[in-house]
């Protein structure tokens, strides 16, 4: 069973890293969103520094959702999902491994580049570190919640928009606590630890529960 999980992770990793795999799409989209913000808001450095964490979090949320609609769709289209359902790995674990690989290839790069992009928003070192930290804690929840949406829309062509409509309301609590944790250092008044621990709780809860929801959706949709 662990061999099957390892094989699946390695395959997802390879596909994402190959040309056209889409691992860099999220990071590029992240860069685009963060770069156009100062043009829209004007060159007020104090304003940018104050709302920088919120901008980074919104950009990360949208970028994280960008590639998620294809999480199961590619496998459904080329027949791999039929074989995976009967693989020597329970479907719930299959979902978890695919999400882990997706997080490692799509969300983790966002975390890594977020301090760099935050510099464009005139943010200081400490808020930059806190944003990165809150993204590490919060993005697993986004990936797992997105997986439920991806599983529900797996058989729909162009289901990406529907997936966003399904998933974004569920992702709003993550966004609220993520931004409040990230703004703690830039004088928001809120403490850092409380919203950060809430983020961790969201992620842990999503990792524990979402595979069951997504696997149930996949089984049902495939009928």
């Amino acid at each position: 069973m662990s061999g099957a999980a390892r094989a699946l992770f390695a395959r997802e990793w390879r596909i994402a890293r190959r040309i056209g795999g889409g691992a860099s799409v999220g990071a590029v989209f992240f860069l685009i969103l963060v770069t156009i913000m100062p043009f829209a808001l004007g060159p007020d450095l104090n304003l940018l520094a104050r709302i920088g964490p919120a901008i980074l979090w919104i950009a990360a949320l949208l970028s994280a959702l960008l590639g998620l609609d294809r999480l199961f769709q590619g496998d459904a289209e080329d027949g791999s999902l039929d074989v995976l359902i009967n693989a020597s790995l329970p479907l719930e674990l299959m979902v978890l491994v695919k999400c882990a690989a997706h997080w490692a290839t799509n969300a983790l790069p966002l975390v890594v580049v977020s301090p760099l992009f935050g510099l464009m928003l005139a943010m200081d070192a400490k808020p930059l570190a806190l944003v990165a930290l809150s993204l590490v804690a919060g993005t697993p929840a986004l990936t797992m919640i997105g997986a439920i949406g991806a599983a529900l829309t797996v058989s729909l062509r162009r289901g990406g928009l529907l997936m966003a409509v399904l998933v974004l309301p569920l992702a709003i609590p993550v966004l609220i606590f993520g931004v409040s944790a990230a703004s703690a250092a830039s004088g928001g008044g809120a403490p850092f630890l409380t919203p950060f621990l809430m983020l961790c709780a969201f992620s842990l809860g999503a990792v524990a529960l979402a595979p069951f929801a997504a696997a149930a959706a996949l089984r049902h949709v495939r009928e």
């Binding site: 061999g3 099957a4 094989a7 395959r11 596909i15 040309i19 027949g79 074989v83 009967n86 020597s88």
Partner: protein, 207 residues
């Protein structure tokens, strides 16, 4: 090993596809599903693999692993080849070997490709292969992980004559070692001693 279906019925979207179907498939003999387009051959294979629920009746496997479903003991080869275009043929097979509980070392994948006459394309990305070559890579998946039941949906699609005879040799060998094969096909496979289950239009058993 014996797969027995008793009075099974399958519905899709509220429409009856198959009803009152009984058959028996034995290890060592292939069961060939024949019938016109839309007769329910693929639907039956998908139901045996566990993708579709039975509306009535029961499927029972004698002599299999009790704690595993029929699907988990079966290779399912559908219309789609279940290959990733971005990965090489060898990588695709090594992955399926690992995921299906086989030996995922590259040598096994290479040997399976060699069996289907594709050793020279093991390092090519699958998207660069022809339809027939992709089908052969998909067939090689049957060889990289041991599973007692093979459910084949039109296995000869896009295969040339040479590849069809390779497939036939593999199927014969599999049957000789006690495999259970259920295949839906239009072209006769040429397997000796194969039993035929004819499905008629509208899902009635024709003969």
């Amino acid at each position: 090993m014996r797969l027995r279906a008793k009075d099974i019925a399958i519905e899709r979207g509220g429409r009856s596809i198959l009803s009152g179907l009984s058959f028996e498939a034995r290890a060592g003999a292939a069961l060939i599903l024949v019938g016109p387009n839309g007769a329910g051959k693929s639907t039956l294979l998908r139901a045996i693999a566990g993708f579709l629920p039975l509306a009535a009746g029961a499927l029972a496997l004698e002599g299999g692993a009790a704690e595993m479903s029929i699907g988990e003991q079966a290779h399912y080869l559908g219309h789609a080849d279940a290959l990733k275009g971005a990965l090489t043929a060898g990588e695709n097979l090594a992955f399926w070997a690992g995921a299906l509980g086989g030996d995922s070392s590259p040598g096994v994948a290479r040997a399976a490709l060699g069996r289907l006459g594709l050793a020279h394309v093991a390092d090519f990305p699958v998207r660069a292969l022809s339809a027939g070559q992709k089908r052969r890579v998909a067939l090689a998946r049957l060889l990289v992980a041991p599973r007692p039941i093979w459910l084949l949906d039109e296995p000869t699609t896009a295969l040339d004559v040479a590849a069809q005879s390779l497939l036939l040799a593999i199927l014969r060998e599999r049957l000789a070692t006690g495999g259970l094969i259920i295949a839906a096909t239009h072209a006769p496979l040429g397997l000796d001693g194969a039993e035929t289950l004819a499905l008629g239009a509208g899902g009635r058993v024709a003969a």
